[in-house]
Symmetry: D2
Subunit: 274 residues, 4 copies
């Protein structure tokens, strides 16, 4: 029996960055947020408490998403005991920093895939039947630049995220006509996320943010507005993919200007003229 009449937002990967802010945004609109993350019970309860203090409703659970059965059980439990999952957010990252091939062991590459791609497949497997039964549902997928191009050192991350992106396309092809909105969000800039980027950079995090200048790092609360907008689009006008980045960030398809020789070529790209 559901504990609530509220529609449910299920967040896989609920840190203090995107996951937590999307949860808070949906909770503000009357959703019950179910927050799942791998570790840090204290941080998890802080997110739940913040949502409740703002008048919203949320519950949280620690979960090792790379382990078989975990996502599946959470979905079943949520649907059965909490309420219908109207929207699911797959927000797990798989970034491990830049690693040369010889420094990317088989198990690292496989774990990248388990978190970056397979977990999303498992979530869809578990959550879509009930959504199809209800005739509607939304799957929001946080993604990264690595989903659209493979940079040096990103073997594990790029292969996983490309699979994630293409899986969003196959899911959309099968399930959009059944009422499920799948949206793939290419986050092409650094996010002010203390639990991920913050932990990776440690002491250098504040200096890094300062180096990006004013509004040079994505505010996860701003991202959450766009996620909310996507979930509100009526089915006659669904967005499947969009990108986001700070105003001062070079999009992934552009070069960082190097200003070497300021001219161009007739045949092709030359110095600075790509």
């Amino acid at each position: 029996m559901a504990t609530s009449d509220k529609p449910v937002l299920l967040v896989i990967g609920a840190g203090a960055g995107i996951g937590g802010h999307v949860a808070a945004r949906f909770a503000r609109e009357g959703y019950h947020a179910v927050l799942a993350r791998r570790s840090d019970e204290e941080g998890l309860q802080r997110l739940v408490a913040e949502i409740e203090e703002a008048g919203g409703s949320a519950t949280g659970t620690l979960l090792n998403a790379s382990e078989d059965g975990t996502i599946e059980e959470l979905v079943e439990h949520t649907e059965h005991d909490v309420g219908p999952i109207h929207c699911a957010l797959y927000n797990l990252g798989a970034q491990i920093g830049n690693r040369a091939l010889h420094d990317t062991p088989h198990r690292t590459f496989e774990l990248g895939w388990r978190l970056g791609c397979f977990g999303l497949f498992r979530l869809a497997h578990a959550a879509f039947p009930a959504m199809v039964g209800r005739g509607h549902g939304t799957l929001l997928v946080t993604s990264a630049t690595a989903a659209v191009r493979g940079n040096e050192g990103q073997h594990s991350h790029a292969a996983a995220m490309a699979g994630r992106r293409m899986l969003c396309q196959t899911l959309n092809a099968e399930f959009a006509p059944q009422g499920i909105h799948v949206a793939h969000v290419v986050v092409d800039g650094s996010v002010d996320a203390p639990d991920t980027l913050g932990k990776l950079l440690g002491d250098r995090f504040e200096a890094y943010k300062a180096s990006k200048g004013e509004d040079g790092v994505i505010d996860p609360a701003a991202l959450a507005e766009t996620y909310w907008h996507l979930a509100q689009q009526p089915r006659n006008a669904w967005t499947h993919e969009l990108d986001l980045r700070p105003w001062t960030d070079t999009p992934w398809w552009n070069d960082i200007p190097i200003g070497a020789i300021d001219t161009g070529t007739s045949d092709s790209r030359g110095p600075r003229s790509k």
Copy 2:
């Protein structure tokens, strides 16, 4: 001297579809909408009247955007006599239906470029200096599937829209760091637009819409919500490109299922397994 303290939305291509609905949406939020379209003074005044009846503010003008000087004068007049253009919407279409190469004369191809690509360049040329001076501005560009792939019969349209898309990228590269948000919206489905699709299909328009099923045609009011959202994104999280289509429409990158032989191949795409 400006006639109003309101921020201005300038719409190039203000029919009863996307252009008119975006104008109404922004007017509802306190913008003064300047509507420009090629013909149909009566239809134009109807849009203005509707906005005013809803408590908003708008003015309209007929304009041949393919003629040198027209967009330029409108921008200058608006900035000088109406108010600062905070947001411009370039919404001119260049679709002429499917035409074989031999049925696409030189002047048709050139006109497609003048409306589909050159007009946007001219608008940016005219409107961006003042935006840069103010440190902010938004350029919303309606675009089409033809901007990302060239289908049979679309010589003029695809070449023009591809130029439009790439121009959005070059404008973004130069002007995003100067505070101007450029967004390219790939409308990948039919819009319930009486002035464009409606006129092309004529008597068949209602039957066509019915054939697409429930919510099978994009409601321009729904599109307008997404345009409004784009214009509201803070500069730390700007979207440059997104797509939209009805839930039942096959995205451009997918095949329309033909169901011939339901199998696949190991080497490559086979029947129905692309």
Copy 3:
């Protein structure tokens, strides 16, 4: 001790289609071909015999590429006992036909990834160090339309092939400057491959080929010419990605014409005017 002074081509996925024809093409130019495939010892020996009858040099082995250690041992054995791997061809398919999500079990999705993506990672891991040591090498990767877009029913295949494609980009980024040419070949049409498409279609294979018309199915010998060309490109002009299809096949980015209503729209794609 190497058995031969010849440069070696290593083929992972050596059926009677692309793999066998590329092997024969390289053998004709003086390469020793090492052919590896999962099953059919008789078919394998037939390929070896054909190459030898034509005056070339080849050896073959059965290999379960999805099993840890198999590719690794083959590479080590080849480098040690046969000769330096100048070129490796990763030609394993991962197509299982169209399957709805509920008909795509977890292990199927995982196997798709093991064959479609992880095996390529393992091959690069095993083969690149020696190539880097020699200052040159080539990795040819057969790929499919599913690497660039996800169609209905292709969950496993598309997620795996997208990972394969992006992995080619990360490998290229790290290893091109070390002298290794990585080329990703998007085969966007049906191949006349008796061991894969032929087995999938069975009795219908000949009828299927006939239905495609004259030159309507890719001849693997023609593909082999392009693979050979790629391997011959000097390092000042390397191709990383190309596509191929028969003249009568609709490219993946185009619609199959449906001819419903022959017109277009101003706002966007309309009937037949994408």
Copy 4:
């Protein structure tokens, strides 16, 4: 009456770089090359002489391709008086170096389109009917990175080249099934082309080439091999698009490594982890 029984290669944009080398390569295989370029009669006659000294056959003409009627007359004259155009190469560049928007006048933008896009449309218009009549033909199109992404300062070039690319797709969609092979070659690196890059860089050309390192600039003779290969592909296995660059060049979709902070993020790209 044709002056020759040889098949004809028509080159629009025949400088000492790609155009001249492709002409020489085809002439070596028995084609008569018709070379057209805007200026430098002496340079043109040198190319013709070199081809003839190598035992080949060629003629040359100066031509202002941006002027209406010029390409059309050349095609008609060639078909009527020289021989059937089996292959046409559109090799005109439209690069003008990096220019800010305010430094890109309307006429510059228009000229970019006339050379980069409209000229190709006119060539297809003029040359395709005879090819269709013969049931075969090849159109090779040299293109640039600007066709696939718009970088800062490239307003004119990118908008023109994007139109060129999409036009290749629409031409392919209509004419591939009629036997015409259209190939779009994305040259993603600097070419050792004295007439274009050489003239732009002037005195700095040799220093620039030296700065790129060994084999760091594309040899147009190497490019010509790939163009020749494309023209030889049988119609069951046609390539529509490929890219090329030197081994040491960063592909357009990758960042130039900046090495600032060597880590990554979970949410998205972080420093050096795009």
